[in-house]
Amino acid sequence: MGVNLSSMRRLRKRLPLSRQVPRLPPSRVSSMASASAPKCNSHTSENEPVKSTSQDGVNCDLNETVPRLPGETLITDKEVIYICPFNGPIKGRVYITNYRLYLRSLETDSTLIFDVPLGVISRIEKMGGATSRGENSYGLDITCKDMRNLRFALKQEGHSRRDMFEILTRYAFPLAHSLPLFAFLNEEKFNVDGWMVYNPVEEYRRQGLPNHQWRITFINKCYELCETYPALLVVPYRASDDDLRRVAAFRSRNRIPVLSWIHPENKMVIVRCSQPLVGMSGKRNKDDEKYLDVIRETNRQLSKLTIYDARPSVNAVANKATGGGYESDDAYHNAELFFLDIHNIHVMRESLKKVKDIVYPNVEESHWLSSLESTHWLEHIKLVLTGAIQVADKVSSGKSSVLVHCSDGWDRTAQLTSLAMLMLDSFYRSIEGFEILVQKEWISFGHKFASRIGHGDKNHADADRSPIFLQFVDCVWQMSKQFPTAFEFNERFLITILDHLYSCRFGTFLLNCESAREKQKVTERTVSLWSLINSNKEKFKNPFYTKEINRVLYPVASMRHLELWVNYYIRWNPRIKQQQPNAVEQRYMELLALRDDYIKRLEELQLANSSKVSSASTSPSSPSQMMPHVQTHF
């Protein structure tokens, strides 16, 4: 398929550049690299060079050295040597606030070197002792959650390292010091309230719920049925609240099967839950068995209910030893169980560590492909996608309703249901739709963000930490690569979400479940990430987006099509260039602007014609003088 290059060029040449071509929005990711320090490829974690301000609330006074958010206070500043892994040591001044670590070069024109929210810090280590020799061997090594390390060399005299270490530890890990996370101090104001984005009743109503088969229950209003579930649940109409309580007793952490999504036409549903408490003795629970059958019957289909257990079968069997297990054939006659072979959180954490090893600070060159393979990262992505495709296909083909669980139903289960919903329902592919999806399947259903990310927590080696949500976002990115016109949001949107997953600037990802958030009054006391994004949506839009209702997207879960997300995982490396806004996108934006311009002109002409004021030779807006001619040949 061809775009005629020469005609495109002609088209472009004819444009008086100053007028017709509007300033393109800053490129998606490249702006991250294009901040003010060309030498060091600035390590800002904001998507915006700090100089340009206001829109996302960054207050920047020219007289001030550090940009500050409302509520942000400067704690200290110090002269340090930043040991850049790409360009060697750079003398600079570091500023530490209660939100960020900010470094300006003292060598070149006080350019910004990086701007890192303290929330990103996972670990702070002292390097070198009193006796250590050699240049820059005494200082701090900071490990970040976003695939990089920051190293500083400090003077041995005058306790400057001790001071910096203590201050950083205090503000990066506030929970260990009985300090609040920055999100609770942040006083930013946006013209959109992100907390209003997700309203469960509205979302269920959009899906056509409640209906004759499904009802909304408030049984969990005060989180008394299940502490980690949301207050509002959708359950089969035929199951009473007492039934639900009895089922809860047989499901790990009371996470009973509840509806996630219903197909608008064939009424097949995706239901999520945790594992049944079968145990070594192979316990059965009549209520649970009956409940699953009720779910199966909601759409009057005779086919069996399909159960997707996300785990590898060996793990599901092993879980019996700790009281868990899976739905056996003899107990659940009307269900068919499949294992999806997705590994646990520990495997995923180690896999991502290996990815960091091959990309930071240096990209493994000579054996890139085999090193990539040895991380297994893309293999895990493949399995998660494959599982979600199976869920989506079952539901979409009208074969049967689907029940998804893993062990507790808050990690792999969330990945599978949300990805399947993204494939099935084009609404979730819009910016707000995606926010609702995350808010619903992840945040409200108790994905343990606090434990998985370790917000403000100093225990970097905590076995509870795992990049499950990152893996989900990576899957979404893979899908958006395969279907470049199907998503309203761009790559920058996904990267922004991931940046604020760690930053602690917003309350969105804090704490483990809705009940805990309610106790902490998170929605009252913090700002939502969606406020930042929705008040500046243009920045996050994919120009190629074509809205298509009812189109099911099936990505190809083959290694032939899966790629490492270079713009995220390797973005700190100045050698691996962030793709400039790619040529096709750039050209498309130019054409879009040209189209809008023509439409305006056409309207003007129509207006001029109708009012009969036309003197082509004198009017300054005469098209013969002003209008660029496009000569596109097809």
């Binding site: 393979e373 507790d408 279907f483 209008m627 596109t632």
Partner: protein, 637 residues
């Protein structure tokens, strides 16, 4: 065999491993056979093309919704192609007919496109060649363009099987005389097509004028001249009739060693420096002759070392770069990754895809070609020196490197006609031995000459520029596959520093797509060119996705802008309103497959493609995999 039923029905990870020969439901065959008598599809022959042999009641396997199905029809062999004429050819829709190849149909395999032929005997796959004692029940044809065809011959009459199998083997494997190539009978029978205005067509570089035009275009005419000393190939058959040399070079020097040792101009850079190539003087043991060679070359270098010429840097491609053998070996491994027989094979190889790719070292070869071209670009552009490419015959790696450099430096070479002209200039006129490299005459002893040389040229795709070539061009190049020498680049540190600085510097600036373009060469940036290599594999197609989705949006927008512009023009000139809408080629982009336009004829369904083999052992992570996600305290369970 038929009893085994449908392969992979329903998909999912639970599919039993299909055996090599389980294909068709018996009822399908019956219905199909009935139709045979009702419909006869006619064979479309090109002028000068002759039917040689045929067989009826052949089944062609079609991958559909993760199972294979048989289509009944006739298998024919002509002096140009092998063709399958299915009995129930589906009607093509509008978009499809528009992009249909008018010469080679979906089920046509040109004889030169056949790479390997296999027969299946008792469920065992064997390579077929020479005289056969036993005829296979199934024929598998692997094509050079990476298509794979499976034909079942079980229902075909025995004599017909013999005739068609031995016919195909003979016509695709027996050595051929040049004059017997189909091309000649076609050219004699077909009317020659007269090229239109010279502005829009490819420059063929077969006249003095063409070379003068190119000299003028690149402003090389100040220091270089086109010569006709080889008119009628009086001096050398290897060289084109007309070519360009430094202005002061005496014509008799060209004659001296039949064109060897002569710096031949390829291209001039805007700053005056030029890219030159030279075929090395024949290797000699004799000291006297060596002395003669040396003084000859001294004379030559004196000419080009003196002002107005820039300093010359010699790049010896025969000793400092890839060997043709390396390229050939890598490509044979690489292509094997795409010649996939069935779905099971696809998913089995999917798990170790990256290590398989790496072990072929094809992508590494691509990287090294790109890197060499960037190094030369740096010399021309940043150091302002002339670069002289040196190679035994100056017709393999010279073609590759010089054309890559021009694609990077000269925006004209990135237009359709510009690229075609470049191929004509550097490869066809440059004397690349296509006949040997592709082994068109099938001389088995010439195997060592078959090296995929022009392929690296079609591969550089890590930079966005690639998107601007039209696929037709790719197609053209694809048909020009050739094949051919090396040591690792052991350049000095200084050279590496210059290179790095130049490369990093270019990449840190915004790109001007009409100026110099440098591809990314880091590991993660060199990727498989999916549209070429994966295009026939049904498992790899993304329905409604892939690059084609954005490209069709772009085309739609261009159409819209154009029609708006017309409207404004009409209003302005107060002419009558013509509401003629531009024809819409690709409006229904959602239906296109990512493999479009190559494999658009894959009838697609809405079924997802599911991997059928899953997980590889985790190795050292086995113990982690066994752990619980969290400590489970389940009370009195």
């Amino acid at each position: 065999m038929l009893g085994k039923g449908v392969v992979g029905g329903g998909g999912g990870t639970k599919t039993p491993k299909p055996s090599f020969v389980s294909y068709v439901r018996p009822e399908e065959i019956h219905t199909n056979e009935k139709e045979v008598t009702e419909k006869e599809v006619t064979l479309h022959l090109l002028p000068g093309e002759q039917l040689l042999c045929e067989a009826s009641a052949v089944l062609k396997y079609v991958q559909e919704e993760s199972c294979q199905r048989g289509v009944c029809g006739r298998l024919v062999c002509t002096d140009f192609k092998i063709a399958f004429l299915g009995d129930d050819e589906p009607a093509l829709d509008n978009a499809e007919t528009q992009f249909k190849n008018k010469i080679i149909g979906e089920n046509d395999i040109t004889l030169h496109c056949v790479d390997q032929i296999f027969g299946v005997f008792d469920e065992k796959k064997k390579s077929l060649f020479g005289q056969l004692k036993k005829y296979p029940e199934k024929l598998i044809i692997h094509c050079k363009d990476l298509r794979v065809f499976h034909f079942c011959l079980r229902y075909t009459k025995e004599e017909e099987v013999k005739r068609i199998v031995s016919g195909i083997i003979h016509h695709t494997q027996a050595p051929k005389l040049l004059k017997r190539l189909f091309l000649f009978s076609y050219a004699a029978a077909a009317q020659s097509i007269i090229a239109t205005s010279p502005k829009d067509h490819t420059v063929m570089f077969d006249t003095l004028k063409d070379w003068c035009w190119e000299l003028e275009r690149t402003k090389g005419n100040v220091k270089y001249k086109a010569v006709s000393v080889n008119e009628g190939y009086r001096i050398c058959e290897r060289l084109p009739a007309y070519f360009v040399v430094p202005t002061p070079l005496p014509e008799e020097d060209v004659r001296r060693f039949q064109g060897h040792g002569i710096p031949i101009w390829c291209w001039s850079c805007h700053n005056g420096s030029a890219l030159l190539k030279m075929s090395a003087l024949p290797k000699e043991q004799d000291d006297v002759i060596l002395q003669i060679h040396k003084s000859f070359l001294d004379g030559i270098y004196k000419i080009i070392h003196r002002p107005p010429y820039e300093i010359v840097k010699t790049e010896d491609l025969s000793s400092n770069f890839l060997s043709l053998q390396e390229i050939q070996t890598a490509y044979s491994k690489f292509k094997q990754l795409f010649l996939i027989d069935n779905s099971t094979e696809f998913w089995d190889t999917d798990i170790k895809w990256f290590s398989l790719l790496e072990s072929s070292s094809w992508l590494d070869i691509i990287r090294r070609c790109l890197k060499k071209a960037i190094e030369i670009t740096e010399c021309l552009e940043a150091q302002n020196v002339n670069v002289l490419l040196l190679e035994e015959n100056a017709s393999d790696l010279c073609c590759l490197i010089s054309s890559l450099v021009q694609v990077m430096m000269d925006a004209h070479c990135r237009t359709k006609t510009g690229f075609q002209s470049l191929i004509q200039k550097e490869w066809v006129m440059g004397g690349h031995c296509f006949l040997d490299r592709c082994n068109h005459l099938r001389q088995s002893d010439k195997e060592e000459h078959r090296r995929q040389l022009s392929l690296p040229l079609t591969q550089p795709k890590s930079s966005p520029k690639r998107g601007f070539f039209r696929e037709e061009t790719d197609h053209l190049i694809k048909n020009l596959l050739g094949k051919r020498i090396s040591k690792l680049i052991n350049s000095s540190d200084e050279l590496q520093d210059n290179f790095r600085e130049f490369y990093d510097n270019w990449h840190s600036k915004p790109t001007d797509y009409h100026g110099l373009l440098l591809p990314h060469i880091e590991g993660p940036e060199i990727k498989v060119w999916a549209q070429r290599y994966l295009r026939w594999i049904p498992e790899a197609q993304i329905l409604g996705g892939g690059r084609v989705a954005t490209m069709s949006k772009l085309i739609e927008m261009m159409e819209e802008v154009q029609s708006l512009q017309e409207k404004i023009d009409e209003r302005h000139h107060s002419q009558q309103r013509l509401q003629a809408e531009a024809p819409c080629l690709l409006r229904n982009s959602a239906r296109l497959s990512s493999l479009f336009p190559f494999a658009l004829l894959q009838r697609h369904s809405s079924k997802p493609i599911l991997p059928t083999s899953g997980w590889k052992a985790l190795g050292d992570e086995e113990d982690l995999a066994k752990r619980e996600d969290e400590f489970v305290d389940l009370g009195d369970v």
